[in-house]
Structure formats: structure tokens, C-alpha cells
């Protein structure tokens, strides 16, 4: 199946399926959120990427990320902000193809590191990134209740 997967930039027509994949993973449908992501990716030129994987006439997954300079004091690196794969397309290398594609785009922008941030209890996505060779970054995410 991997060879039948095509990765390309996202378009407006993809958003309903992206929203559905995201909602399935998070339990929260956000139809108002994704158009903004698409607009920002369009404005970001080569530094921002919103990619989708398609195969068999349907959308299989998406990935969103961008190159950021000196974020949290670290040298420019590629950040992956979101990834989602249709549950019935898992273990078909869809996520791998998407991550490879965005990593290659980051590399062309001259960065040598790709980074992401994942909830500690999101074992599925954590395991995926681990399986791609990603290790703990030399940063610690902190938060505080202010409400």
C-alpha cells in the first residue's frame, strides 16, 4: 500500500476529511480551526507545511509543521505540530511517508533537527514518533494553572 500513497500539499477540498480524521483522534471536531491552519501554511511559503497523504481515492492522513528560528532559545529547527492518520489506514506507513515528506521539506530549509510536543498519555502518537527514531529533546515542557 505504501507505494500507492501520494503525499502533497493540502487544499481547501481536503479540510472536511482532515477535520474528520482529527476529530476521530481527539474526540473533538474543529471545523473552524483547520481553515486557519491552511491559510497560515499558504502564507508561510517554504517554511510552513500542511501536507496530506492520499490513496485509494481518499485522504489517509495529514501532517502540519513549520521551521521556527530560535524558538525557546534553540537553533532553527522543524516543528511538527500535528499528525493524524485514518484508523483503518494505520500500519500502512502513512505516518512514515508524511513525516519523511515534511522532514525533507525542513531539511531543504537548512535545518538539521525535527521536533514535536506530545501529551504524555498519548501513547499511540508517542510510539509512532519513537518508531521513527525520535528521542527526548533537551527541553522540558512546563505549565501552571492560572485560571
Amino acid at each position: 500500500m505504501s507505494s500507492l500513497i501520494r503525499v502533497r500539499r493540502a487544499a481547501s477540498a481536503d479540510l472536511p476529511q482532515v477535520v474528520a480524521i482529527d476529530a476521530r483522534a481527539t474526540g473533538l471536531a474543529q471545523p473552524g480551526y483547520w481553515p486557519g491552519i491552511l491559510r497560515r501554511a499558504g502564507r508561510g511559503g517554504a517554511r510552513r507545511r500542511f501536507l496530506v497523504a492520499e490513496g485509494g481515492g481518499r485522504l489517509l492522513g495529514y501532517i502540519v509543521g513549520e521551521v521556527r528560528d530560535w524558538e525557546f532559545g534553540s537553533p532553527p529547527c522543524g516543528w511538527v505540530f500535528g499528525i493524524g492518520v485514518r484508523p483503518d489506514a494505520r500500519e500502512a506507513r502513512v505516518g512514515t511517508r508524511l513525516l519523511d515528506a515534511i522532514t525533507e521539506a525542513f531539511r531543504r530549509q537548512g535545518v538539521a533537527t525535527v521536533r514535536t510536543l506530545i501529551a504524555r498519555d498519548n501513547q499511540l502518537v508517542l510510539s509512532f514518533f519513537r518508531s521513527q527514531g525520535m528521542m527526548a529533546a533537551p527541553v522540558i515542557a512546563l505549565e501552571k494553572e492560572i485560571g
Binding site: E91, Q123, L126, S127, F129, R130, S131, G133, A136
Partner: protein, 136 residues
Amino acid sequence: MRLQKNTLLALYSVLEFAAQPGRQLSVAGIAAGLRASPHHLAKVLRTLGRAGLVDSVRGARGGYRFAANARRVTLMDVIGLFEDIGAAPPRARRARRPAEQALEQVLAEIDQTARATFGSVTLDTMLKLIARHGRG
């Protein structure tokens, strides 16, 4: 972070099995490779067998073979058979001092991170990591 000896033996041996799925390995052979006592290792392997991670093969040329899915089993699945990372400390009879509560909170944070890390690394990912170190 330190793991108990039995846990380490279990991790090393299950990785040995996962690297050679379908192949039957003898307790003595694995024990020699890990410089462990066969008697001690046999106990560890029985625990792995009860958890369905390895199958025992009886007979004079018996041994064990891998019985799980390396892409599904995480380090935490193995570790959890032998020790409880992040187990709550025994309840004190008297009310704990604020300093004890604060330190417990920090230690719990470390435990949660350790659990998340072990729970996100599958045996398959470990085999890739081992191969990278082998090439390095």
C-alpha cells in the same frame, strides 16, 4: 533511573527473542550471553511466559521462543511484570510534612515521565535503536 536486576534480565532476554522471532533459544544459551545464572533466568522467563511474551518449548532440546508482536509490546509492558514504577509510597501513620508532600510531587513527576517513556518505546523501536548503536 535504575531498574532491578530481574527487570533488566527480562528486557535483555525479550529483546534477544524479538530479534529472532520464530527461533527457539535455550535458557543456557541466553544466560551465557547475559552472564546470568540459568536458574535465575529461568524464573524470569517463566514470568515472561505467563504474560504471553514467550512460549516455552518442552523436551531435551527445549527452550523458549518469542510469542508476541514486537510492534505492540512496549518496554513498560515488560517492566510492569517485575516492578511498579511510580507506585505510591506507603501511607504514613501521621500527617506528612509539607516538605515530604512537595518532594513526593516532584518524584511523582519524574515517575510519570519515566512511565510515559517506557510506555512509548516498543520492542521493535528498541531493535532499531540497537541496530543503530551496532552500526555506530
